[in-house]
């Protein structure tokens, strides 16, 4: 059975003060389908309509028009039934009980979802082990670090074995090690095939690690819905090599594949933008041959760059 199916899902908001009201379209005619076991990255800049779409899919927000089915249910009318079949993690909000030890939040979650004791134990033990939570199970949630709390959030969302796990910016604010641990865990969970993932993020590595498919949304509209690999090949922007030099030198012009050079710090730092066709290692070697290097860094194109590139293409009259 299809996990998510929407047809021209649409939501408007009224914003402004009493005197000056206007209608804003947050989500405009979003039509999409997600199949079981899929792992979908739901991308777009701030205000693109990602969270609004998610809230309509979970039934907490009523669509202005359009239609949605999640796990075969009408999200608004069957919200409670749907809540038994999906798990939701909002990176900026907590579903744990602030004043209670983490493990008691899990107990409560299990009770609210009426998870049978044996299965609850099994599921919890597995999460505790995979996410290394044993040292802080007895700590009140308010005393946990953000990284520890997010591990708790994801566990709570999975205890009732949901068929769909919706993650709204789950790695926001986490350090690199915590992000990597969470990604590893989610990828393990998804690989078993019984949980479908729908993930919003601004972090490209989240998507690369977890998602096979990407939906890009901007100003409420779906711009692209495609396999990640296809998308990268079609739209990925240029990468940039930032080199720190031991002494100032003139701009490093004329290197193969470099489309733009900008000089910073009086020539001590230079930023070379290069196309996807160029091998970064060879480019670094070429630079090293011409100038003494102190440090190098490679900047990947951000989601925002990708979206901007997509948006420009969509808008161009050539299409």
């Amino acid at each position: 059975m299809t996990i998510i199916h929407t047809d021209r899902l649409h939501r408007e908001f009224t914003v402004g003060t009493r005197l000056r009201r206007r209608r804003v379209t947050a989500v405009a005619d979003v039509t999409l389908t997600v199949e079981p076991g899929d792992a979908v990255g739901f991308l777009g800049p701030n205000g693109a309509g990602k969270s609004t779409t998610i809230k309509m899919l979970t039934g907490v927000l009523v669509p202005t028009s359009g239609w949605a089915r999640v796990c075969g249910l009408d999200p608004v009318r069957q919200r409670r039934e749907l809540a038994r079949r999906i798990g939701v993690v909002f990176g900026q909000r907590s579903q744990l009980w602030w004043d209670l030890p983490l493990v008691e939040s899990f107990d409560l979650h299990g009770a609210i979802h009426r998870v049978p004791s044996a299965r609850f134990r099994e599921r919890l033990d597995e999460c505790v082990q995979l996410l290394d939570m044993a040292p802080f199970l007895a700590t009140p949630v308010r005393q946990l670090s953000l990284g520890q709390r997010m591990r708790g959030e994801v566990t709570a969302a999975l205890l009732h074995s949901p068929r769909l796990l919706v993650l709204d910016e789950p790695t926001i604010g986490l350090d690199l090690a915590s992000k990597e641990r969470l990604r590893g865990f989610l990828s393990t969970v998804n690989a078993r095939g019984d949980v479908t993932l729908l993930l919003t993020t601004h972090d490209l590595p989240d998507v690369e690690r977890l998602c096979r498919r990407v939906i890009v949304i901007d100003r409420g509209r779906v711009l692209v819905d495609d396999e990640l690999s296809t998308l990268r090949a079609r739209f990925a922007g240029n990468r940039a090599l930032v080199v720190e030099l031991t002494e100032p030198i003139p701009p490093l012009l004329g290197l193969p594949g470099v489309v733009d050079v900008s000089v910073q710090a009086q020539g001590l730092r230079q930023r070379l933008e290069f196309t996807q066709a160029v091998n970064a290692a060879e480019l670094i070697a070429a630079v090293a041959a011409r100038a003494p290097l102190r440090d190098v860094a490679i900047a990947e194109p951000s989601i925002e760059d990708l979206v901007r590139a997509l948006y420009a293409t969509e808008d161009s009259p050539a299409r």
Binding site: S51, V62, R80, A83, S94, D99, E104, L108, V115
Partner: protein
């Protein structure tokens, strides 16, 4: 593993048990104000002997039970739901397979259960040590008060729930909650016994849920009036107000605008 709502009662209890300093502060304030109120009522009764059936023993029992019930029935400071609507955190509460009102009631009953030990018994013990309290004459009163207090909590909860739910429309329930905080004690019989009020005021209040908050449980304990009638009235108000809360919640949810992210 317990069923969901009993588990939430337990969580409500545990949640408040972790803040014993707050309970201690609350009890201290209740005792200090109890001494003041007790002194005033005793002074009044010293002049007049008895007012509307209140002699000194009934009056001091009224004061100390009332001071203890403040923290149990809870009139002030419950802004949780309106805050969660305001910040948008209510999406979490609405994404759970429960009835939100029932879940919050269960948690509040757990809180009240903790408050009976932490907020009701200490002022009563203090009152019993230093004042001639009037204890129930009939053993059945102990059973009746065990029903009247949870019912008072339920009525109080269902009014607080309605006031907080106004944030679905107003986004800010602080005004409504402030009015409630300022008037509920006077209207509920916490500040003065309602039987001391003019007859027109008593006639009006008889049609409101306010006496069910303090006056009824205190009357049950001091064995004034028919306890079964009082408890029945509490039951009816609790049912009406909870039903109203369900309607408001359903409507509020449908017009919810989630704030931020």
């Amino acid at each position: 593993m317990l069923a969901p709502y009993p588990q939430l009662v337990r969580a409500g209890y545990r949640r408040h048990a972790s803040y014993w300093q707050a309970s201690l502060g609350g009890v201290t304030a209740n005792v200090v104000f109890g001494l003041l109120r007790g002194a005033i009522l005793i002074a009044v009764l010293a002049q007049r002997g008895s007012v509307a059936g209140y002699d000194t023993a009934v009056a001091v029992t009224y004061v100390w039970l009332g001071q203890g019930l403040i923290g149990v029935v809870l009139l002030w400071g419950d802004t949780e739901l309106s805050q969660r609507i305001r910040t948008g955190d209510v999406v979490i509460d609405l994404s759970r397979p429960w009835n939100l009102q029932a879940a919050m009631l269960a948690t509040d009953l757990g809180r009240a259960g903790h408050a009976i030990g932490a907020r009701l018994l200490p002022p009563m013990a203090f009152g019993a040590l230093f004042f001639p309290l009037r204890w129930p004459e009939h053993p059945i009163t102990w059973i009746l008060i065990a029903a009247a207090v949870p019912l008072a909590v339920t009525v109080s909860f269902s009014i607080r729930f309605l006031l907080n739910a106004s944030a679905f429309w107003l986004l800010d329930a602080r005004g409504a909650l402030a009015v409630w905080g300022a008037t509920s004690g006077v209207l509920g019989g916490l500040v003065l016994p309602l039987s001391w009020y003019p007859s027109w005021a008593r006639a009006v209040l008889a049609w409101t849920p306010f006496p069910a908050l303090f006056q009824f449980p205190i009357d049950v304990f001091t064995e004034r009036g028919d306890a079964f009638t009082l408890i029945t009235k509490q039951l009816v108000w609790a049912a009406l107000l909870l039903a109203a809360g369900q309607v408001v919640l359903a409507r509020g949810t449908r017009r919810l605008v989630v704030q931020g992210g």
